[in-house]
Symmetry: D2
Subunit: 378 residues, 4 copies
C-alpha cells in the first residue's frame, strides 16, 4: 500500500468531507482519516438549518461568509447527487424568526436594518401574518421576520454526500483510525502517525471539531476551543404541521422532507458527555409547545446530541499554521458547520493549492491566538 498522498484530511465530518471533496475535484490524491465513524459527531447530529440571516448578526464577519456559503447549496445539491447519488434534501421554503415579546420584535427591527445594509432582504410580519403563512403557530406569536433564503438540508446526508462524492473521485476514506500525532521536518508537516502506522503528505488539514485541540496543542498553539453540547429530538406528524423552519434563539422546529420535524437545540457548554438528559427534552418540549402547540400531538421518534466546537471569540479557524508549513486548520464552526461547509471546502482547497481565496479571511486567522515558542523538537 502506497502511503503517500497529496493531502491528508483529519476528521470525517461535514467540514472534512467538504475539503476532501474539493481537493479530489481538483485532482489531488486525498486520504481522509476518521477516528470513529463518519459523520458520527456534530455533523450527523445537526438539524441542518441554513440560517445565515436567522442565526447571524449582520455585523459579524461570519455574516458575509455565511451568505456566500448559503448561495452555493443549490448547485451543490445537484453536483453531489450526480457524483454520488446522495440527496442532501435541500428545502428552500425559508425561515420564520418568531417573536413572542415586544423585545423580540425590537430585536428583529435591528437585525433587519443590519441585513439590509449588507444586501439581504427580510420581511417583517405581524403575528397574524405569520399565522397566515404557518397556521399552526401559537397565538402567543406576536410577530415574525420571514427570511426567504434561509433554507435547510439533511445534515447527515450532506456530510455523506461530500464523503461519498470524494470517494467516487478517488479519495481514500478510513474509519476507526486515530491520528496520534503530526509529523514534521524542518518546520514543515510531513504526515501523520496513526494507530495503524504512518501516512505521509506535505499537506495535512485538521478538521476534528472540538477534538482538534489536542492534536494542534502539540504544535504549541492553543486553540482555546470548548465543547457545547446540543440536544435535539424528532417528531412524526400525520399531516405536515409546518412549511418553513420556525426559529427562535432558544428553540427551532425544522420540518424535514420526509415529514419529520426536528426540534432543537439545547446549549450546554463545557461538557463532552453525549448523553441526552430528561431536562434537555423537557425544556425543548415546553418551548416548542409555546411556538406550535399542536406539536405535542406528534409521535415521538428519538433524541440525540452533538458536541459543537466553539472558540473564545465565536469565530472559526480557517488558516495555515503560523509555524508549520503545510499544516492547515478548519474548525470552530459552532452551530454553523453545515451552513459554512461548502465555502469552507472551497477556501481550504484554495489555501492548500496556494491560491488566494476570494473571501476575506482576516477574522478567521490563527494569528489571533497565543503560542508557545519551540514546542516540538523533531
Amino acid at each position: 500500500m502506497n502511503k503517500t498522498y497529496d493531502a491528508i484530511v483529519v476528521g470525517g465530518g461535514v467540514i472534512g468531507g467538504a475539503i476532501a471533496f474539493n481537493l479530489s475535484k481538483r485532482g489531488m490524491k486525498v486520504l481522509l482519516l476518521e477516528k470513529d465513524r463518519l459523520a458520527g459527531k456534530a455533523s450527523g447530529a445537526a438539524a441542518g438549518m441554513l440560517g445565515a440571516q436567522a442565526e447571524l448578526d449582520g455585523e459579524s464577519p461570519l455574516f458575509q461568509l455565511a451568505r456566500t456559503s448559503r448561495a452555493l447549496f443549490g448547485d451543490l445539491a445537484d453536483e453531489l447527487m450526480v457524483a454520488s447519488g446522495v440527496d442532501i434534501e435541500l428545502v428552500e421554503k425559508g425561515m420564520l424568526r418568531v417573536a413572542l415579546t415586544e423585545r423580540d420584535q425590537q430585536e428583529h427591527q435591528t437585525i433587519i436594518e443590519a441585513h439590509t445594509q449588507n444586501g439581504e432582504t427580510a420581511e417583517l410580519l405581524t403575528g397574524e401574518e405569520a399565522r397566515k403563512r404557518e397556521p399552526t403557530l401559537s397565538d402567543e406569536v406576536t410577530g415574525a421576520m420571514y427570511l426567504e433564503k434561509d433554507g435547510q438540508v439533511s445534515a447527515p446526508q450532506l456530510a455523506l454526500g461530500f464523503l461519498k462524492s470524494a470517494s467516487a473521485l478517488g479519495c481514500v476514506i478510513k474509519e476507526d483510525l486515530e491520528v496520534h500525532s503530526l509529523r514534521f521536518s524542518n518546520g514543515k508537516v510531513t504526515g501523520v502517525t496513526t494507530n495503524e502506522g504512518d501516512f505521509m503528505s506535505s499537506h495535512v488539514v485538521v478538521t476534528g471539531g472540538v477534538w482538534s485541540e489536542k492534536l494542534i496543542s502539540e504544535t504549541g498553539l492553543q486553540l482555546n476551543m470548548y465543547p457545547v453540547k446540543g440536544e435535539c429530538f424528532s417528531v412524526r406528524t400525520e399531516a405536515p404541521l409546518l412549511t418553513s423552519t420556525i426559529f427562535t434563539p432558544g428553540c427551532y422546529l425544522v420540518p424535514k422532507k420526509d415529514g419529520r420535524i426536528i426540534v432543537g437545540a439545547t446549549v450546554v457548554p463545557n461538557t463532552f458527555n453525549q448523553q441526552v438528559t430528561l431536562e434537555g427534552i423537557f425544556s425543548l418540549m415546553a418551548h416548542a409547545q409555546k411556538l406550535v402547540p399542536s406539536i405535542l400531538q406528534g409521535e415521538w421518534e428519538k433524541a440525540w446530541t452533538g458536541i459543537r466546537p466553539q472558540t473564545a471569540d465565536g469565530l472559526p479557524y480557517l488558516d495555515e499554521h503560523p509555524d508549520y508549513k503545510g499544516l492547515f486548520i478548519a474548525t470552530g464552526h459552532f452551530r454553523n458547520g453545515i451552513l459554512l461547509s461548502p465555502i469552507t471546502g472551497e477556501i481550504m482547497a484554495d489555501l492548500i493549492e496556494g491560491k488566494s481565496p476570494a473571501v476575506d479571511l482576516s477574522s478567521f486567522r490563527l494569528n489571533r491566538l497565543n503560542r508557545k515558542t519551540n514546542p516540538i523538537a523533531r
Copy 2:
C-alpha cells in the same frame, strides 16, 4: 407433525405464558400460539409493579386475588430461574404511595383502613419521614403510605421466564401464527383454525388481551373490552435515585435492578394506536419532576407503549365459556396483568383440569355478560 394437543393457549403474553407453564408442569402437552412476537404487546411494555395495595381498593374483589398472587412471586422467581435460567428481577423493596395534597392524605387514611380490615398492613408517613426513606423526594410531598410487600419485577423477563420454562417442560411455542377461528363440535371446542392450518385440542384458552374480543365474539359472547393505551419511558441515572417504587395514581417511578428507572404511565382509552406522543412524555416528565425533581438530570433512554385490556366493570374474565365446553377465557387484567399472572396461571390450570380453584371466582365469571343465542352453526 402431530397436530393434537392436550391444550392450546392462544396468546403469547404473560397470561398465556403463566397458563402454559402451569399446564406443562402438570404434565399436559401444550401448544401456545402467538400472532406476532412473544411478549410483544402489553406484557412486554409493563413497568412490572406488584402494587396489590398501591393500586387496588381494599373493597374490590380483585384485592384478595392480587394479595394471593403477590405472595407467589418469591418462590416463582426461584422456580423460573431453575427451569429456564431466566431472572425475573424481583425487587422486594416496597412501594411509597405518595401524597401531594391534603386530599391525597385523606385518601391514604381510607385506603389503610380497608387494607387493615383485609389483613394487610401499611405504614403512614409524614412528608419528612418519606424523605428520610427516599431523600430525592420533592418538598411538595406532604405524606406517604409505605407498602412493604408491594414489590416489582421485570415484566418482559417475567413473560419470558414463563414461556421459556413452559418450553423447557415440552410446550410447543409458535410465533407469527394467527388463530382465525375456533373449531367446535356438539357444543364443545375441538381446536383452532390458523393461517398455518388446523390444530386440535379439547381445551383451548384464549389469553389475547384486548385482541381476544374478536375471536370470542364468534361464539355470540360480547366481552365488552376496550383498549387503554399506556405510554412509559425509561431513564438512566449515574447514582441510584430511589430504593422503593414511588406511586401516585397519575405517575409512578419504578427503580429497576439494572439502574434504570421506568416512569409510567399515561391512560389513553379507546385506541389501538401504539404511537408514543410528545404529549404523553411531556406530561409524565412534568409529573415525575414534581415527585423527584432530580430525575430531570437523568439520561433519556427510550419510550414505548402498551395496549392494556380493560373490561366494562374493571374486573378480568377467568372462566370457561358458558356455551362451549373446553373453551376458556383469561383476559381483562388491565394494569394488573403482571401482578395477577401467577395466580391466573394456577386458576386456569385448575379449571382446565376440572379442579375447583382455591380462590372465589364469582366476580370474574362470564355470566355477567350478555350473549346472543345460537351464533354459530357449525
Copy 3:
C-alpha cells in the same frame, strides 16, 4: 368524526398505497386501514427490482402487465416527489441476468426470443462482455442477458411515497387498526367493522397480501393463497461494486443508490414465521460469492424477511367480488408487488370508478376460484 368514505382500502402496503393514491388523485375521499405498521410486511422487505424481463416469462399473462407497469416508474418518481417530497430512489441502470452453466445460457436464448416477440429487446453477452460491464463478476459467469429497462427502486420508499402522497391529497390513514369483518347489505358491501368501530363505504378494497385470505373467506370465496417467506440481507462496500442489478433465479444483488447492496432472496413456502435463519443467510452468501466474490469483503449491515402472497396459479387477483358489489380484491403479487404497484393502482381505481381498464384482466379474475353458496346471512 364522520365515518363514511368514498372508498376504504384495507392494507397499508405498496398495493394499498398505490390504490389509495390513485383514488385520492381522482378526487375520492379515501380511508386506508393498516393492522400493524405501514409498509411493515412484504412491501418494506422487498429489494425493489423492476425485473419485468428478468423475472417473468414472456408467455405469462403477467408479462404484459409488468411491462406496462415498469414504463410508469419514470413519471411516477417525479409525481410522488412533488406530492410528498419522497424520493423513491429509481435507478435505471438495467439488469444483468447471469448464466453460470450452459443450461442457463440456453434458457437465456429462449427467454430472449419470447421477449422479442413481445416487443422487448435484450442483449446477449459473453462472460467476458458481462465482466466488461461489471468487472467484479466472477470468472464462473459464462454469459449474461442485459436488460436495459429493468431498473429498481427503494421498496420502502415507494410504499411511503404512495402513502404520503395519498395523505397529502386528503386520504385518512390509520395504523394499528384491524378490520375484523366486512359489512354487507343486499349483496353489496357497506363498510368494515374494526377494533375501533365501524367505518362505512360502498367501496372496499382488500389489499392485505397473504393476510387477505381470512377476511375474504367470510364471503365464501377461497383465495387459495399461501405465504412464501423471503430472507434478504444488505452489505455496505467502500467503493461501489456494481452498477446494474445482478440477477439469477436463486440469488440477486441490487446496488442501491446509497451505496448498499441488497442480496436476496430465499424462497420458503408455507410459513408465516418471520424469523431470519442462519441457513437463509448462509445459502445467500454462498450464492452471492459465486457471482461476485468480492462481496465477501463488504460490511454486514442487517438481515430481514418478508412474507410474499402467492396464489395457486401464480397470478394475482385484480377484480371485484363475484357476489358482493363494491368489494374489490388486489393481492397475490408474489415477488412482483413493487413492480406491479403502479399499474395495479390505476386498474383498481378504474374498476372502483366503474371504468374499463385499458389492460386485459381476464387472467386475473376471481371467477377462476371455487366458492361456497350463501356463506353469509347478514
Copy 4:
C-alpha cells in the same frame, strides 16, 4: 468539584472496572475515565468464555494466572449481585474442546498431560461419548476433551457488574472523557489532563486495551501492542441446542443463559476497523455448521466486533512503570480479558497499595520492553 482522588483508572472496560471495584472495596476514592462508552469495546464484545484450560497452554505463565482467576468467579458472582444487583450470568456447565481430525486428538493428548502436571483434570472422550453429552454435535467430531471447570459468563454484564459495584462503593465514573496526557512531577505521576480539564492523583492505572499504547508512549515506553479484530454473531434457537460450550481453536459456540448461542470469533490482526465483514460471518457459519449442523436452523440475531489488545510475546502487562512511580499499566489480555479480570483487579489493587501480590508476576513485568531515555521533560 474536588478533583483529587486516591486513584485514577483510565479505561472503562472489564479490566478498568475490576481494578476500580477492588480499589473502592479497599476504601480508596477512585475516579474512572472512559473516552467513549463503558464496556464499549472488547469487553462488551467478548463471548465470555472462562477457558483457562481450553484456550491456554499448560506451560504458559498465563495458565496459573488463569486457573486462579477462574476460581474466583463463583464468589464474585454473588458479591457483584449484592453490591449492584447485576447478574453476571455465570454458567458452570464446562467446555468441550472438540477434535475433528486425528491431529486434533493428538493435540488433546498433549494438552491433557500438561494440565495434569499443573494440577488440573480433563476428561478425554470419544466422538460417541461427546455426542452422548451433546447430541447435536456432528458426526465429524471424532473426539473431545471435557473441561469441567471452564465455565462462562456474560461479558457485558461482568463489565457492568464491576463498574456498577465500584460506583455503589463511591467510585466516580465519567464517560466521553478522554485522557490527553499524563502529568508527572519529579519522576512521579501526579494526575491526568483530559478534554475536560485536569484530575489529580498520585496513582494512575492505564487499562485502555490496545488504545493504551499512545498514552504510554509519551513516557518513552513502547508497549508493542497490536489490535486483533474478532467478529462474532448470535443465534436464537427454539429449544436449547447445547449445554456446554463447544470449543475449537477456530470457532466456538457459547450457549448463554437466555437461550442465545454466541458463535465466535475471527482473528484479524493489525486493524482498528470495527466493521463486521460478510467474510467473517460466512467463515464462522461454515465452521459452526461442521461442529453443530442444526445451528443453521437457528434464528439470526446480530453480529458485532471487538478489538482485542495483543502483545508481542502474547502475555499481558501487569506492572508499575519502571520510570514513573505511581503509574500502573494493566493491559494486553488479548482473548482472555474476561477470564483474567478478577485476578487482575486484585493484583493491581495490591500493587497500588504497595502490597506484594500472592501471584508470581515476573512474566508480566514491563522490564521486558525497551525504552527511550528521558522522553518527557516536564
